[in-house]
């Protein structure tokens, strides 16, 4: 049902300039093209800077004539992203979707959403309230969540291996890649995504 040819082209196109754009996509479990995992880098100059955010991507049968379903796996403190389940409030993932949009443009839009929240149309009311009334606390909390959940440099090797294996990568490959990058989980993820 999913247009396999288009998705394969999208994966190639997206990962070609991964270093510059800060977004990448990989197959989730290596067996089907309708379940993918995306990553976006936290934009500079925002509380999310330095973080790597993992996004679950599921393509409905009607893709690209139906929008992809995207959800943050990494916990993130943001008015338009649920702090509980990672659900995203973004118009191009709903009624404003167009078949001419791609997974890459959708991920870039998520990156832009991190830079410019829209608290008047919130997904998470608690975060939106804080953003509007107590911006400094919001900013500090968002930065803390980025440090705690989006960087992971302080966690143990086994936890990193487990996280990467849960994303669908083979365990032995995960271990060798982590070793080669001295335990930096983000760099390991990037290497694994590049294949």
């Amino acid at each position: 049902m999913v247009d396999v040819s288009r998705v394969q082209k999208e994966l190639t196109e997206c990962n070609r300039d991964r270093e510059v754009s800060g977004v990448s996509i990989a197959l989730h479990d290596g067996s089907t093209i309708s379940h993918l995992t995306g990553t976006i880098a936290g934009p500079q100059g925002t509380p999310y800077e330095g973080g790597t955010f993992v996004i679950d991507i599921r393509l409905p049968g009607g893709y690209p004539f139906e929008p992809p379903k995207m959800q943050f796996i990494t916990k993130v403190w943001h008015p338009n992203i649920s702090s509980q389940n990672g659900a995203i409030c973004l118009d191009i993932l709903k009624d404003q979707w167009s078949p001419a949009l791609t997974l890459k443009t959708a991920l870039l839009s998520l990156q832009a959403l991190l830079s410019a929240p829209a608290p008047d149309d919130p997904q998470d009311a608690v975060v939106a309230q804080q953003y509007l009334r107590d911006y400094s606390t919001f900013s500090a909390t968002a930065r803390y969540w980025t440090e705690a959940f989006a960087k992971n440099s302080s966690t143990g090797m086994e936890e990193k291996v487990q996280k990467l294996v849960e994303m669908g990568f083979p365990e032995d490959m995960v271990r060798s890649v982590l070793k080669s990058v001295n335990g930096d989980e983000n760099m390991a993820l990037e290497k694994l995504c590049s294949g």
């Binding site: 040819s5 288009r6 082209k9 999208e10 009607g62 690209p64 004539f65 001419a100 949009l101």
Partner: protein, 570 residues
């Protein structure tokens, strides 16, 4: 380069000139009073109609399609746009041609199109075809196009471009259209991000028919029906199974016609505003809440309570008995006899087999609480509603044939004096008046149930009391005279001698006039005195002695060809 610019300017002037000519033509057509089928503007009524009342038309699917075609052609010529953009304009203005005329005069063509979200590029009108438009989007000498949805390359013959110039392969257009039809779309917009241009109907239909003929058929039906759903003046007949007609109501413009009651040629009689069965003088919201005709309304709930429960003599809560014992205990602690509802002691030393009139030598009356009063109040209104509804059925089903037989007997009886008595029309006319009033009476009790003490929010209590008194006086008189008329007609239907027939005719004629006057008075009282008291405004259909307006079959249009001005219909 300069020469090319001059050429463009020349074409632009030509377009303006064409527009002026079209405008002049349309003005001439306006003078001829030619209006579209879907307009709310009035057509001249038939000559026999002397009353000021809504004129109703019954429109078949075929007439609807032809009329829609005419409206589309008029707009295409008037504004100089293609079919799909004409449809968008009509939809934006709810298929009211006069609004498009007004807006065109006030705003001009470009603003009119922009206001409706229609994207028309100036170059489009000067190009000879879609191939030229597509040529502009490709580098010179290119023989292939890359589709930005599937990222494949296609020859020019396998891609399509819309007014906006955005170009995609036909396979992707087809899947996009099929998905849009599934979502309920009527007019598709371009696939490009943020592009709002409307897709050419011919292209949509051509591509869909090839791979998704079911979706193409659904889209055609949806486009046809869209003008009915968008128009305030047209609605579908609610008959089931559907007779296929839409009903249009033309009025004087005061809005009164929106509350008309309509009879479709298929026999369905309904309220134009809410689509339910005719229910005046009861307003739509009250009738809907009562819900007697469809089930599940308040009347069903209360009927069940009344039929299956007793109320506690102490606290008046409804009590349902389970099991055979009639000695029942309420949650408030009171014991009672379920058979007669009277209070008893814990040992149940109670006998009630003898029937007693209320207020007889019995014991002290228990003070009734709100729940009990509500039950009695409901029963008062519901019983009369039910009685008059049943009487209507009897008078229609049994008295009707007897009246017909009487009319035939009068025509055939040569012994009767000629002076009016042998005219066979008076029994049927009186019977129709009886049925009409018998229909009105149950609805008046529904109105009263909600209007007086039923929780309806009103202003000015003193005015309400006076209006209620007038309404109930009219209702009581109407009820009385309807019963006399019913008895008179029933007696007249039996074999009788000439003198009795003459008397029956005189009485029936007089009573018919009386009940009609009372009925009209009650409608005026409701519309002018009762309903204005409500905080939430309501309206009812205006009173007409003959009941709902009969919708006439709309004459099928003679021409369905596009481009030519439609012929005047008179």
């Amino acid at each position: 380069m300069d020469g090319s610019d001059d050429e463009c300017c020349y074409y632009y002037d030509a377009v303006d000139s064409d527009g002026d000519e079209e405008e002049e033509e349309e003005i001439i057509m306006l003078d001829e009073d030619d209006v579209g089928l879907l307009d709310g503007a009035a057509l001249p009524p038939p000559e026999e109609e002397v009353e000021h009342r809504a004129i109703c038309w019954a429109i078949t699917k075929e007439s609807l399609a032809a009329a829609q075609e005419q409206d589309l052609s008029m707009v295409m010529n008037l504004v100089n746009v293609e079919r799909h953009n004409a449809r968008a304009l009509l939809a934006h203005h709810r298929w009211k041609m006069e609004r498009i005329y007004d807006r065109l005069d006030m705003m001009g063509r470009d603003a009119l199109l922009r206001d409706a979200g229609v994207v028309v590029l100036p170059e489009k009108s000067s190009s000879s075809g879609s191939s030229m438009a597509m040529a502009k989007t490709n580098p010179p000498g290119s023989v292939a196009v890359t589709c930005n949805v599937c990222f494949e390359e296609y020859p020019l013959g396998s891609v399509s471009a819309m007014d906006c110039g955005h170009c995609f392969c036909n396979d992707c257009w087809t899947e996009y259209f099929a998905a849009a039809v599934s979502d309920g779309s009527k007019q598709m917009r371009c696939m490009e991000v943020k592009c709002t241009a409307i897709c050419d109907e011919a292209v949509v239909r051509l591509l869909l028919h090839g791979k998704h003929p079911g979706a193409a058929a659904r889209l055609d039906r949806r486009l046809l029906e869209a003008c009915v759903e968008a128009s305030d003046a047209v609605r579908w007949c609610p008959s089931a199974p559907h007779c296929g007609r839409a009903i249009r109501v033309d009025g004087g413009g005061g809005g009164e016609e929106r509350y008309a009651e309509v009879s479709c040629p298929c026999g369905a009689v309904f309220c134009f505003r809410c689509g339910g069965g005719a229910h005046s003088p009861c307003p739509c919201p009250m009738w809907d809440k009562w819900g007697a005709m469809r089930g599940g309304g308040e009347v069903d709930n209360l009927k069940w309570i009344v039929a299956n429960t007793k109320s506690c003599p102490k606290c008046s809560k409804p009590i349902e008995k389970n099991g055979g014992c009639n000695h029942v205990t309420c949650t408030c602690g009171q014991h009672l006899c379920y058979a007669c509802g009277a209070a008893t002691g814990t040992l149940y030393m109670h006998i009630c087999n003898r029937y007693k009139e209320e207020g007889g030598g019995g014991g002290v009356k228990v003070e009734m609480t709100a729940g009990g009063r509500q039950r009695l109040r409901f029963m008062h209104y519901y019983e009369r509603f039910e009685i008059h509804t049943e009487s209507y059925k009897e008078e229609q089903g049994k008295l009707g044939p007897a009246i017909d037989a009487l009319a035939r007997r009068l025509e055939a009886d040569a012994t009767l004096p000629w002076s009016g008595t042998r005219d066979a029309r008076w029994p049927s006319a009186a019977h129709r008046r009886l049925l009409r009033c018998r229909q009105v009476l149950p609805r008046s009790y529904v109105l009263a149930y909600y209007m007086f003490g039923g929780g309806a929010a009103t202003r000015r209590e003193r005015e309400e009391a006076a209006a209620q008194n007038r309404f109930e006086d009219l209702q009581g008189q109407l009820e009385h005279h309807v019963e006399v008329l019913s008895r008179t007609l029933a007696a007249a239907a039996r074999p009788a001698d000439a003198a009795e027939v003459v008397k029956a005719k005189r009485d029936a004629d007089n009573l018919a006039r009386v009940v009609e006057g009372l009925c009209a008075g009650m409608y005026r009282c409701v519309q002018d005195e009762l309903l204005p008291l409500l905080v939430e405004p309501m309206n009812i259909a205006a009173y007409h002695p003959d009941g709902p307006a009969m919708a006439k079959e709309f004459p099928p249009a003679t021409s369905v060809t596009g481009g030519a001005p439609p012929a005047t219909r008179h």
